[in-house]
């Protein structure tokens, strides 16, 4: 029972973590990406289609990353070159992509809402013998797919990347002081574009994970606002990769609990709101703690 919940929590964490790491890099470079959810949704559809078409999960992931990255580029150019407000553009992308996906399903496949395809290549699960039988640890480490491992590997990698590399330093400069960066001969707008493309790719992968890692079909509500949970995760983590991962894990845990609680007499619609309610509760608690610490500190 506990093992099941832990395993499910890690499964539900992966998409949030992927998108959150993308959004984190994006935010550090100076753009708050409200449109993550749209890139997730498009990535989910692209991933499922290519997984069915080619029967290859790496190809599916590649396609999802490409579609997400492309949407990210479009969104970024609108913000950086046309000087549109990033919040409005992000919201616009969420609404527009949802509409386009619905239109595409109807005109291309003649279905509304849900798309189920034949021969979908699902992500493989890596079973680790011996470890799998250890309680708790087995649930944490065994029977996860490559994308989950990649997501967790990306946590230290992105921390290292931002702190220690030239590109990381320049992304931080572009976000914190674009004028100063420009005065030094950097191009903060291009740096921001690059970071949004990265965020789009990560969100695209997150979407594909939901389709070919978890459920195996596409539904227009498949992201269920997880792009916004990702947003909450990197706000929770205050731009630090490990803290962001912790946030993603917390929200993933509540997502897993929510799924467990369904069908136990409580109205499903109410239960489904659990992760989102917890976002509000947790972010409020964090804000209060930070304020307390500040008041107490010397």
């Amino acid at each position: 029972m506990i093992d099941n919940i832990i395993h499910a929590a890690f499964v539900m964490t992966t998409p949030i973590l992927l998108a959150a790491l993308g959004g984190l890099v994006n935010r550090i470079a100076g753009i708050v990406n409200i449109g993550l959810d749209s890139m997730m949704l498009a990535g989910a559809l692209a991933g499922l289609m290519v997984a069915s078409l080619t029967g290859s999960w790496p190809a599916a992931l590649l396609a999802a990353a490409f579609v997400g990255g492309f949407l990210g580029l479009l969104m970024s150019l609108t913000v950086t070159r046309l000087a549109a407000n990033e919040i409005i553009v992000g919201l616009g992308f969420n609404i527009a992509v949802a509409g386009l996906v619905r239109f595409f399903l109807k005109s291309w496949y003649g279905t509304s809402g849900t798309l189920s395809l034949a021969d979908v290549a699902m992500l493989p699960r890596i079973h680790i013998p011996v470890v799998a039988n250890i309680p708790v640890l087995g649930a944490i480490l065994s029977d996860h797919d490559p994308l989950t491992w990649a997501a967790w590997l990306l946590v230290p990698v992105s921390a290292w990347f931002l702190a220690r590399t030239r590109l990381g330093l320049r992304l931080r400069a572009a976000g914190a002081a674009p004028h100063a960066a420009r005065a030094l001969g950097l191009n903060p707008l291009s740096l921001r574009d690059a970071s949004t493309v990265f965020a789009g790719m990560m969100a695209g992968l997150a979407g594909a994970y939901l389709c070919i890692g978890v459920v195996g079909i596409f539904n227009e509500g498949i992201t269920a606002g997880r792009g916004f949970l990702a947003l909450a995760a990197f706000y929770f983590g205050r731009n630090r990769p490990w803290a962001t991962a912790l946030g993603a894990l917390l929200f993933g845990l509540f997502d897993a609990i929510q799924i467990r609680l369904q069908g136990r007499g409580l109205p499903a619609e109410l239960v489904q709101t659990l992760p989102y309610v917890m976002v509000i509760v947790i972010l409020t608690l964090v804000a209060i703690t930070v304020k307390r610490a500040r008041n107490k500190g010397a």
Binding site: R166, L169, R172, A180, L186, A298
Partner: protein, 516 residues
């Protein structure tokens, strides 16, 4: 033409030759010619609006002249952009520093020119080595791992200068570099710049503070209304002569006539207050300011001045003590109530707290008075009445403007400060808390503002001046109270204050009684 004239004079490192720049009707630079010789410190002085900023933008390639040329190494040149100027070794330290918050000093130093090893990894060792080398050249020591946000302002300025050196500049243009510094730090900067000169670098120093110019520069070019009035070596001129060239006339110094001192308007009792980081910054203060009196507070920044402001205005918390305004205990009242009792407050930070730069001049001028029955009825602003009120005030304080409906950012710093001053003196306050009243204001503006303060005092007003300019405090104050480490280290009456003695008290030495 003789060969001597056609050969470029390579000893001229940077200069201008007949540079003219027009903005519509306005001629910001009118045939400006000057030459800064290699390995010297050349000062460009002029009042607000003299055309210094335009010239600087042209000299570092951010703007192009309509006529004339920039001279580099004796050769007339056209810069394509700032990068072009920089490739010729010309770099500028801006008034508002161009450092990136959140990055360490070291990261800021190497940003955009990072030494790297494999995988795009920053070679920290190489970066630190370069930083240490620059430190030695400049004769300073810095903790390079400090985040910029935690570094004091003079350290940031040094980093900005070192960054230009790191990137290969040998001409440094400094725009009003001392505006943000405390007196002791100004001395450090002067030492640093002299050291850089000794190493053969050329420094162009823009300022309107004549003391510093006289102390630092080898040559001085004075500009006024876009034209060069003259260039001279520092040895051949005096502060008074420069001032006259800058403003075109001899200003009579505002003088304080004796005034009758009345009852206490502000009484501060046993005041102690915490700073923004919640450590005890102001430890004990007892102070009276009486009607018809100007009391000045001297001290190096960070010795409790900010906490006095916070306590008197009610904008910050106090640890203990009482504030009495015009006989009434206001310790628990907020700023609005205190203002109604006769407090006025001229903020030290004009751009952020004192004014709303994007709002029209007129709105800035009535801010806080907008509730008065003449200016608004039932929550509706009375346009006609406001306009009359605003124009009268602007005329009285001789604020130069095209229209009071324009954003106040369109005014020069000096005129902005006059607007702030006009607002605070409007409505007959009992006490004026004037903080850094002439920061970023030129000589003529300073004289005007000082005269306003003295007139107000003569009319029976009480003024508490907090300033980092000792000359200003000496000129204005009936009494100067010196603050060090949150306590009063001395008090000096008008006429007996000397800069050196005040300076010693500001560093914590209590006033020596002269033995009989």
């Amino acid at each position: 033409m003789s060969t001597a004239e056609t050969l470029p004079d390579a000893s001229i490192r940077l200069g201008a030759q007949g540079v003219t720049r027009r903005f519509g009707e306005l001629v910001a630079n009118d045939r400006i010619t000057f030459r800064a010789m290699r390995g010297t410190i050349h000062a460009i002085v002029g009042g607000n609006g003299a055309g210094k900023s335009t010239l600087m933008r042209i000299l570092q390639g951010m703007d192009r002249p309509d006529e004339g040329m920039v001279v580099v190494d004796g050769v007339p040149t056209v810069f394509l952009g700032p990068a072009d100027a920089f490739s010729r070794g010309i770099g500028m330290v801006h008034q508002e520093f161009m450092l990136v918050p959140g990055l360490t000093l070291l990261e800021n130093l190497v940003l955009a020119h990072e030494p790297t090893e494999g995988l795009g990894r920053i070679d920290r060792k190489a970066a630190l080595e370069a930083a240490r080398k620059l430190e030695r050249e400049a004769g300073v020591t810095l903790d390079w791992d400090t985040p910029v946000d935690d570094a004091p302002v003079h350290v940031r300025q040094i980093v900005e200068i070192l960054r230009l050196l790191y990137r290969g500049a040998d001409v440094l243009i400094l725009d009003e570099p001392t505006a943000v510094l405390a007196p002791a730090q100004v001395q450090e900067l002067i030492v640093l710049l002299r050291k850089l000169r000794a190493e053969g670098r050329t420094i162009l120093f823009i300022s309107h503070k004549l003391d510093e110019v006289m102390a630092l520069a080898d040559e001085i070019t004075v500009i006024r209304a876009g034209q060069v009035i003259g260039t001279m070596t520092t040895a051949d001129t005096t502060k008074a002569a420069l001032a006259e060239m800058m403003i075109g006339e001899i200003l009579s110094k505002p003088s304080a006539r004796p005034s009758s001192v009345g009852r206490p308007v502000l009484e501060i009792r046993e005041l102690a207050a915490l700073d923004a980081r919640r450590s005890l910054r102001l430890k004990e203060l007892d102070l009276d300011v009486r009607a018809g009196e100007i009391v000045g507070i001297a001290g190096v920044a960070g010795n409790g001045q900010d906490e006095i402001i916070a306590a008197v205005t009610g904008l910050g918390h106090i640890e203990r003590g009482r504030i009495v305004l015009d006989g009434k205990d206001v310790t628990k009242l907020d700023l609005r109530d205190r203002r109604e009792l006769g407090l006025s407050y001229l903020s030290p930070d004009r751009a952020v707290e004192g004014l709303c730069l994007t709002a029209p001049i007129s709105e800035n001028l009535i801010a806080g008075r907008h509730r008065s029955p003449e200016l608004s009825k039932g929550g509706i602003l009375q346009k006609g009445a406001i306009k009359r009120h605003v124009e009268t005030l602007l005329d009285r304080f001789s604020v130069k403007r095209t229209s009071s409906a324009l954003p106040i950012a369109s005014l020069s710093g000096g005129n902005q400060q006059k607007v702030a001053m006009a607002r605070e003196l409007d409505g007959g306050p009992k006490l004026l808390l004037a903080c850094q009243p002439t920061r970023g204001v030129d000589i003529r503006g300073i004289a005007f503002i000082h005269q306003c303060l003295l007139d107000y005092r003569e009319a029976g007003g009480a003024v508490l001046v907090i300033s980092e300019e000792l000359e200003e405090l000496i000129a204005l104050s009936d009494r100067i109270v010196v603050l060090y480490d949150g306590r009063v280290t001395g008090e000096v009456a008008r006429g007996s204050a000397k800069v050196e003695e005040l300076g010693r008290m500001m560093l914590g030495e209590t006033r020596q009684e002269i033995p009989a």
